[in-house]
Symmetry: C2
Subunit: 411 residues, 2 copies
């Protein structure tokens, strides 16, 4: 498996585009230079799978997409950024109008589209701007890398970095490509934060299998990311698989299944880490790995508690080797363990530092600690002595800018 | 029941003192003007009850106090601030030395004391300073209001406000007084944050009954507070009841039980709200009340999710009426409810503002919203239509100062 350029247009038979239509003009400070409408379209009908927020309060486009994709089939995605169309007047009506407009402009059926929205909650969607923009959007659909770049930008809200990747592998003697774009930032937490992720692939795979595989992959990637513990109303991860790679259709376990699983996992893990590192206001990507645990589930509980802890997050921001907060976080994670058998290290490109062994602090070089923790990517490594299972979870530090961004998001 | 002055020395037969012994000198910036050692002592043996952190990683003084108070008896409390003696070298040894020194200076047994510590984790306690300070501390024990004030200050870490109260009521024809001091600030979350609360009372009450009552009261007060979702290694709430009010011993349900319950609840609720409003960096006390719920448990789930949400907390800091984040938070709280039957109001001394009804936003006056949300105490009122149960939980906003304080707590 290799990483290649091209994003979601790297797989055969996909076109995409991203434009500014005006959704982002409804802020106090309009953003006419920001893209806010994206479409992804396959040349042929696709096997489609989706995972959605588990929030009881689901945005209407999420409910609609769940309905439209219930048959495991789709051909495209229409998405806006700037307005989540959640708890908003005319929410379902406007979500349907988005799908209808996408269908009218492409000659497809509304049910062929997933509809996604991200942005402010509770404000009526500027559906007129979207309906007006969709024909332009469709006219710009193309399969070049620049189009994927535009689409990746058009789904961003407070994201600072584009989140795009493609990987290529061989399955059944054929070249299979998987591409992805994503957006994240605030309200990121296990069970899907305000994150959108659109994955395209030319792999041929059975629909039910793709759905179950996606669920497993999302559990091991996006659901191991937390920015602030808030789970959004709009989270959605959609995979469109059009089969144009002409590999033998994957219908069950085996080498082909494993190869595609790895490619899908690689795309989703990349996007998950990008989302974590680009959390609102973040200056560090924080990874916590728990190893030597009795079960992966327990390791995940503990790792998630660490990357979620506001006190750990503040310490990472301050490059402060405050391992006591790590012990505290694993202690309230819900996992049972022997506090006297815990080792903690901090590590990054600058090196590795042992700070706690046998559940107690060890003397360490504070200058070295500052050096290790000042790197952009920092890992907390917790080692237990009870088994072989391990798990990594991802988050970011908690900074002044997080507070600034979220102290007045609406304006 | 009336509120009176005097704090923990208001009930009959209690003395207290707070001094600077040197625990806080171990910071990069020593704090010689800050009190860091407190003792509470009853003239006679007390019925004692305690609730403790549920963190798997318990500080050694917590473990020791649980042992010493297991018989439901105690006569005093010895506490330091500045060092939590958690995950620290010689943790248990030093906790025992604290109890021994307190016993030696008072002529009591070590088992007569609860031992409490709060502050930095993982650093060896300066037990020499404490042992040297205890005789001075004991020499200053007094039953005046100034001593309670000193003790209240001597258990503070990053707290800005002293948390002290006393209430007086009549039980069985006798005047019964309940006093309390507390400290809170960071790592505050249901299941006890780094909070200490010491309650004194001259009420006569059965030990097992006091323990079960305390548990219920803590569940309805401290466990409804969250500052940052972190549950500390050291949380402790201790009640000493010396019976000097000479009321008929409370041994079961009835009017006397109810009267004392209300007094204890009032003290703990006051301290809980003080802890929430004085959360690290906080500029607002945030209350969320959920009413019209089917069960109190469900209302508590929802209210807790709101006061815990970093996005809601940032919005309150920014005086931003972002009710969408309130809906989002109750949506992921774990409670099932009908999103279309939710009403949300913001209210404070400046007025009340309806922002959401039937699960959707209503047009409101942004100037009025800013006015309501700029008050120091702000309430989010969520009304459901499914029943009669309600619950309030308390928290605070998330500010630049929280990040500042916790980005470099150790120095």
């Amino acid at each position: 498996m290799i990483t290649i350029s091209g994003g979601i247009t790297a797989p055969k038979g996909f076109k995409t585009a991203g434009i500014h239509c005006g959704v982002k003009d409804n802020f106090t400070t309009p953003q006419p230079d920001k893209l806010d409408l994206a479409m992804v379209l396959s040349e042929v009908p696709c096997t489609a799978a989706g995972t959605y927020t588990r929030n009881v309060v689901k945005a209407d486009p999420v409910i609609l997409s769940m309905q439209y994709l219930a048959d495991g089939k789709a051909q495209g995605i229409i998405a806006d950024s700037g307005n989540a169309n959640a708890c908003a007047p005319k929410g379902m009506e406007n979500a349907i109008r988005m799908a209808n407009a996408a269908a009218a402009a492409t000659g497809l059926q509304p049910q062929d589209f997933a509809v996604c929205s991200t942005g402010i909650i509770g404000v009526e969607l500027n559906i007129d701007a979207i309906e007006k923009g969709i024909p332009t959007l469709v006219s710009q659909l193309a399969s070049d890398a620049a189009s994927s770049d535009n689409a990746a930008h058009a789904i961003m809200t407070t994201d600072l970095k584009k989140k795009e990747i493609a990987v290529r592998t061989e399955i059944g003697g054929k070249t299979v490509t998987v591409g992805g774009i994503a957006k994240g930032s605030g309200m990121i937490h296990p069970n899907m934060g305000t994150m959108l992720c659109f994955v395209t692939t030319d792999c041929a795979i059975d629909g039910a299998l793709l759905q179950s595989m996606l669920k497993e992959v999302v559990n091991k990637t996006f659901n191991r990311v937390t920015v602030d513990g808030d789970t959004s109303t709009n989270d959605t991860c959609i995979v469109l698989a059009n089969g144009l790679a002409e590999n033998p259709v994957i219908t069950g376990p085996g080498a082909d299944y494993d190869a595609f699983f790895e490619a899908l996992r690689a795309v989703c893990e990349y996007e998950a880490k990008m989302i974590a590192g680009d959390g609102e206001g973040a200056s560090h990507l924080l990874t916590c790995t728990v190893q030597g645990a009795a079960t992966e589930e327990k390791a995940e509980f503990m790792a998630k508690a660490v990357v979620r802890s506001p006190l750990v997050k503040c310490a990472i921001y301050g490059a402060d080797a405050n391992w006591g907060r790590v012990l505290c976080a694993i202690g309230y994670s819900g996992a049972e363990f022997d506090p006297k058998a815990v080792e903690v290290k901090f590590r990054s490109q600058a090196g590795e530092l042992l700070v706690c062994t046998g559940g107690q602090g060890v003397v360490f070089d504070e200058n070295m600690a500052t050096k290790v923790l000042s790197e952009e990517e920092v890992e907390v490594l917790v080692t237990l002595t009870e088994g072989q299972a391990s798990c990594s979870c991802w988050g970011c530090d908690l900074t002044y800018d997080y507070v600034k961004i979220n102290g007045d998001y609406r304006s």
